[in-house]
Amino acid sequence: MISVNQLVGVSLVYVAFLFAIAFFAERASVRGRGAWLRSPLVYTLSLSIYCTAWTFYGAVGYAARSGMEFVTIYLGPSLVMIGWWWVLRKLVRIGRAQRATSVADLISARYGKSNLLAIVVTLMAVVGVTPYIALQLQSVTLSLSIFSGPEVSESLTISTAFWVAFGLALFTVLFGTRNLNANERHDGVVIAIAVEAVVKLIALLAVGIFVVWGIAGGIAPMMERIDASPIGEWSMDRSRWVALTALSAAAFLALPRMFQVLVVENEDERHLQIASWAFPVYLMLMSLFVVPIAVIGLDIMPAGSNPDLFVLTVPLAEGQGGLATLSFLGGFSSATSMVIVATLALSTMVSNHVVMPVWLSTQAEGAQVSGDVRNVVILARRASILVIIGFGYIYYRLSGGGSALAAIGLISFAGVAQFLPAMLGGIFWRGATRWGALAGLTVGFAVWIFCSLLPSFGPDAVLSAEVFDNGIAGLGWLRPQALFGIEGIDPTVHAVVWSLTLNIGAFLGVSLLTFPTPLERLQGAQFVNVFDHSTQARGWDAALATSEDLMIMAQRILGPNDALSLFREEAQRQGLTGHLPEPTQGFLQTLERELAGSVGSATAHAMISQLVGGTSVSVEDLMAVADESAQILEYSNRLEAKSAELSRTARQLREANAKLTALSVQKDAFLGQISHELRTPMTSIRSFSEILRDTDGLDQAEKTKYASIIHGETIRLTRLLDDLLDLSVLENGQVSLNLDSGSLRDLLEQAVLSAGGDRSTHLTVKYARADTGVVLTTDLDRLRQVFINLITNAQKYCDASKPELSIDVIDMGARVQVVFHDNGTPIAAEARALIFEKFARINDKDGSGAGLGLAICREIMTRLGGDITHEPRPDGNAFVVHLPAQAALAAQ
């Protein structure tokens, strides 16, 4: 019989051996001679931390209680390694490309580097894994108590657990946080757990060989005893079988410690190919003798002995102290390797996602002092290790080491399996979003706590028996083991199916309903298409290629011309010819600012950094994002253009409408004016003719007077009609000019004569200065008409006591001005603008004019290639006729 002290001594020697191996491995690694540390064999063996003490001891107990069902625990990982190695390969590639340090980091990175997600995953992992750590502590103390006999004091057990916990914490702190490698690899730890993997395999094989050949007497008798045992009569419960296989497969992928050894500690992706068959072989060897040990244990051990400890108790019962010690070391190795790696993985998560963000937020300077941060990170990680192992120890103490711990293995598996939808969805589905992941994780985890974790403590421990039977608040569909009223399912299957179904449902549903942020989309593209990118990325070697890619991307976002000019300017500044500048820091910042204006700063930053980093995202993916932005921009530009066109059309319509309205008003006014001008003389004519006809006793003088009025008014009417027709012809451009040459002097003389010939007038007309000898070629009759009009106007309207009109000619060679200057009251400023309009009559005393004269003059002058203007003078008014000396070409 081996004493406890001997066993503790052996354990200490073994631990010292592990420390030494880890130490030398670290030293070799630091000196660059650690290539052998990173062999496929070591990688495969490190994966064996999957086989914890629960597997080492518990598998035999499991087999003794439930027959072949224990195989599912080995089957799940084997199926993953063999059938799903491509999933693993993708996971490993992504993990390395993203420099993921943990499951939490991976999930957070995939969903736009969300720290909220990282914290949630970290907390879930701590809750799910801490009981498992407690289970390992329990297994060590339990196995130790086998050697000390039943009289062992409780204080010894507890102190053993404490010292084991302390030792593990020390080891993890020493070798887990010796340095802060960017890739978080720990050569010492890995080599130590590889050695432990060998020890536990040898131990289990040794016990198995002893049992088969030492006790049963060979393979054939062993098979007979198996057939005779209860295990031989075992029949498969299919739902449990499938559920447990799936669960262990899920846990293998999602367990934080498995991620640590599979992804974080992976040196070379090719190791995975070897591990994909070597690790299943390891698992097969581990499971090879489980059934024989269980069968022999059930046969030879007294009824009621704990089948979980058959691996130890069978050799002891047969007096094989050395074998039992080896077996103890195997169990010890299983427990310690699991605790070390699990703690390492959890502490990384806790320090990176919980402690560091909190610490950084308390620092005003942020993370600017790098040396400072390094120390803080190491400190945070060491503290996290102590806290997590401390949690495990406390949990072990509080749970009292009872039967609750026995079930914790599967429960823990079910808890971490909740990470799987977010993980796998993230690496295969670009549509997965942050909120979807968060919803899936929280829903799955809540269901897990309610259906699996809390009930595991038994009725009335946390949940009352009342809740078990009738559900929360008496709601029948909220029973932890019969959710939604579906009864009769095995509790484990029930919890796994419901938690994962609701998890996946929430994940998919919320992902479909929410829209990923640009960073999420970029990260999603990197995760889902990780293989395409890394092959293309190798093609980029020169800085020129990067410049070209930046150019292409900038063109997609800024438009070809803007991008080209931006790049040209920079190239010129750098003194380069062509349009591709060196991608200097300054230029990248400029470019990022430019891009941020179009696509927002987060996307711009991600695009630039990914392109410049040049490793993990393809140009195509960036282009896809850029194209989307460009399309949206183009679409909105098109909309803008359309809307501008519409408002332009509307404005044109409004203007046309206003013009039409104005024309209509003008037409009404014109018709009103014509009507007035015609009806007024007709009124006099009619009235006086009626008076002449109907009135008896008019004397001759009256008759003559009234007849003269009628006569005058008919002349006025005739003149008005003449003027209207004249104006109409002129305005419509139907007039034909009769060009002739003549002396301006003669023309003026004729005009003065015609104006004064009709009536006696007191207006003095002076035109001495018009005697210039200018000869014009124009329509002489029309020009004379203009002159006559201006002279008659002066006769009519000049209100000076001695009315005078002086006519001057200003000869400017090609052009000639004729100025008609009277000494009447200057026309008021507001009236001046109107005088050339139709029917405008200013100071028309006798009402004989129709207000068409000046309008006609203007039309005539326009026809003759000249103009007529009015200039106010201090002492009167000046009408200036401008005309070309040779009107022929100008007019026609």
Binding site: S675, T683, S684, S687
Partner: protein
């Protein structure tokens, strides 16, 4: 009712004709030809009847009528409006402004005098 008429008109020949017609019927005829001061003249002369042209220099007949009707003293003053514009909208405007009688030029002498007699009768 007295027979004092104010003729607001700017065409001398028409003034002459209407003055002749009304005088023969025993009216005392005053004339005024500036639109801008027409209302003041009405206030000052307080005629029994106003014959008002539509198109006047300074202020048109509609505005003069509107201004008169706003004064309580002239709300019932008979106003005969004459217009040469001949547009249908003008009659509407005049009626809205409160015209007593509206006629389009050229008028027949008989019509004008009948209208004057009607207005006198209505006012009595």
């Amino acid at each position: 009712m007295g027979k004092h008429v104010l003729l607001v008109e700017d065409e001398i020949n028409i003034i002459e004709a209407i003055q002749f017609l009304l005088s023969r019927e025993g009216w005392q005829v005053d004339t005024h030809s500036d639109g801008a001061t027409a209302v003041d003249t009405v206030r000052r002369m307080r005629p029994n009847l106003v014959v008002l042209d539509y198109m006047l220099p300074g202020k048109n007949g509609i505005d003069i009528l509107t201004e008169l009707r706003a004064d309580p003293d002239f709300q019932n003053l008979p106003v005969l409006m004459l217009t040469a514009r001949g547009q249908s909208r003008d009659r509407e405007l005049a009626e809205r402004a409160g015209v007593s009688r509206f006629m389009t030029k050229p008028f027949s002498n008989t019509e004008v005098m009948t209208a004057v007699r009607d207005l006198v009768q209505l006012a009595q």
